[in-house]
Symmetry: C2
Subunit: 451 residues, 2 copies
């Protein structure tokens, strides 16, 4: 049966309070699909039904599912669970997910959970929950597999076999000394292939890719993707291993980062829920501030036009070409800016590339501008005669160059100012290009055609 | 030493033709960094140096690196290798990467390679290389670990130990019957935890996530990310296992897809090389067609303005607010369109959500429009008096609603027409909003203010 079919069964079973059928559907569904179902129920105000489903599961199953819920769903559903059940759930969750959940809880729920946990669990949770959002520390997990360097392959496989159920992954192992200083890494594949009596010390890889707890999540994700890692070891400043970030968490970060960058490119603020589940107020707030700011920025364009009112009154046909010229500047700028912002996000373009890319952009934008000038010249001559057509063509080359250079340069300037270059959004570039386009167009027109 | 330091050493060693130093630097560098170095050398016209470096490596090392080169670098460097070396290289590469390389080679090089391969290798290569670009078949690999259902855990571990060096991953195993029909999956972790005498048949997971060779790469990537898979099994239409797609290839696909979507959002066409390495001609071609198309589209806006020339001549101060109104329509539209396009790309929004989202968007855009109308009303009264301010405020509400609804709807229409919704780019939405904005603004102005 497809998972849609199973979800329908689950819904029916819940409505009928048929515990056996609930168990049966839950057992066959993937935890990911159950988590999605719970989020939907919570979003449409059926939180009590979601809580009933959670309580009917085993602790293990519950722990698998809870970390996959959206933050608002976690907060809402956790507040409806009895304190003992919540503490039991937290204890059973993977270390990174329970730290995230902990950060979502309110003060009194945190207190309830902490006092019910064993001492080492409590310390581990406090520690993981203390890292700043956006850093490697905040997404790493402390349930990794570590090995001493002095044992043999056979002994190491024994260690892994005994500890496997508690570890996020055993496919990549980390070799540490008595002070937990990271010495090397070893894959389970290499362990299985090696003779049973070889020593870990001889076998481990010493040239490793690592990051520290303060490394940004984007940089961690880029390393995992670039070097095809299953997990990236995270050390403190002293080189001691404190956690790992696994590839699946990196994929989630990469998707969230891409979404945030894409939203920023259209001046949409950060959304914590998927668009389908986000409330009206959240959507309004994520969009209004930039829109109002751009209204005020566009007054400059209006003022530019008003400044040239006499020229316009004398040659009203100039208005025909105005939208086309300022849109072209904005469009070319949007292209250049988007290419740069994405290049910087993927790490392909860095600050010192600016001059080289500027040279390239002048040539490309020049060629684009000339092509577009030719296209517009044809229309211009047919419609308004040679004089205005010449003004329009000259303006086109200049504004396309100008828009492109602004689009190319703004992301670098923002990056230097420690502002995310993705803030150099298409609407912002378009607004800048509008002002410049109007001034250039009517200045040339005034000079060539007179008043 | 950092990898930049090692790369400098390598460069010096190559210039001096010091084979020992070349070997030493190569051994310590990550294959990914060597591949990047080779791509750069090729891009700056130092292909002979790159070829020299490749020839000085062992076949294994060469095979590790070659699949990570960009397509143009692969094509150029492969054409400079002796035919026997190229065939030897192809034979040593992972199955998916060699199929990609094969597709990059010219006809005669393909022929040279094929005649030097063993029969089964040749068939496998032909088979993998025959799948359509963009499908699961084109990115899957045939070197997966498979097990019969009838053996025990101890026997299975023996099988994996013997075949591990040839397999892309042994952490996820696939249980097949005599006809290679996929029966279930089994992780190495579960194998290692299970008693040695249990049977694979009892242990394997039968409820699996799978895809077929025709599934799109985006859908494959979404499944791997959603269900946190190490690899996704790919079957033919008959349910026979023919390959797997691993998480690291899925991460590459996801990044390439995100880049393509982001570029499309600013009307930039597909680039096969990173922006820093792309040539002038490629960059020009990726940008010119949409720019010229939008020039012609913007003529409509110009025609709109010209149509209302009399109204404008009578009330020149209307021009002051024109940029602001049409930009606001475009900006609100850009936000709505970007939210929808990204939601569709991540699978969060599907076609049947349109009506529900439309209702939400009308409320949100209405609130946005009213807020912006209030902001602009204040400026309007101060600058031009109550009448024009009223016209401007009314226009603002209408054009923001209009822009938002166009931005929301266009992606759904394009999707229905089987065009990538990402084509609903910000510049396109802006252009549509410009035309509509001009017509609405001057129509209201003509009605309220007269001629």
């Amino acid at each position: 049966m497809s998972h849609e079919g199973l979800l329908d069964d689950l819904q029916t079973a819940l409505a009928r309070r048929d515990e056996d059928a609930i168990q049966e559907a839950c057992a066959r569904l993937n935890p990911v699909d159950i988590a999605d179902f719970l989020c939907e129920q919570e979003a449409i105000g059926q939180g009590d039904l979601a809580v009933r489903l959670i309580l009917s599961m085993s602790v293990t199953r519950r722990a698998e599912i809870f970390g996959r819920l959206s933050e608002p769903a976690q907060r809402s559903l956790a507040s409806q669970l009895p304190p003992e059940t919540l503490a039991e759930l937290v204890a059973a969750m993977p270390h990174d997910e329970r730290a995230d959940l902990f950060n979502v809880l309110d003060e009194s729920a945190r207190h309830d959970v902490l006092k019910r946990l064993a001492h080492t669990e409590r310390e581990d949770l406090r520690h993981l929950a203390s890292y700043k959002e956006g850093t490697a520390g905040a997404i790493m997990t402390s349930d990794y597999a570590s090995l001493p360097a002095s044992i043999t392959v056979a002994e190491a496989i024994g260690v892994l076999r005994n500890t496997a159920p508690d570890k996020e992954t055993i496919y990549q192992c980390y070799v540490v000394n008595g002070n937990h200083y990271l010495l090397g890494t070893l894959s389970l594949r290499d362990l299985i292939l090696a003779p049973a009596s070889s020593s870990i010390d001889d076998l481990m890889v010493r040239d490793m890719v690592t990051a520290t707890v303060d490394t940004s999540q984007e940089a961690v994700t880029r390393k995992i993707a670039r070097y095809d890692l299953l997990a990236l070891p995270i050390t403190d400043d002293g080189g001691r291993l404190v956690g790992i970030v696994t590839y699946d968490d990196a994929m989630d970060v990469a998707e969230a980062e891409a979404t945030e960058d894409i939203h920023k490119s259209a001046t949409v603020g950060k959304l914590r829920r998927p668009i389908g589940q986000a409330g009206l107020g959240v959507l309004y707030r994520s969009r209004i501030s930039w829109l109002v700011m751009l209204v005020f920025a566009n007054i400059l364009t209006g003022a530019g036009i008003t400044h040239f009112e006499e020229t316009i009154a004398a040659h009203l046909s100039l208005l025909f070409f105005m939208p086309l010229l300022i849109a072209s500047a904005g469009n070319a700028g949007a292209q250049a800016s988007t290419l740069m912002v994405r290049g910087m996000a993927t790490g392909e373009v860095v600050g010192r590339d600016w001059l080289r890319l500027l040279g390239k952009e002048i040539l490309v934008a020049g060629a684009l501008g000339i092509t577009m000038a030719v296209a517009v010249m044809v229309i211009g001559v047919a419609r308004t005669g040679f004089d205005i057509a010449m003004v329009v063509a000259m303006t086109m080359v200049i504004v396309v160059l100008m828009g492109s250079l602004v689009g190319l340069t703004l992301p670098f300037i923002l990056d230097k100012l420690d502002i995310d270059p993705a803030t150099s959004s298409v609407p912002l570039i378009t607004t800048v290009a509008d002002v410049g386009g109007v001034v250039v167009y009517f200045s040339i027109a005034t000079a060539v055609l007179g008043l």
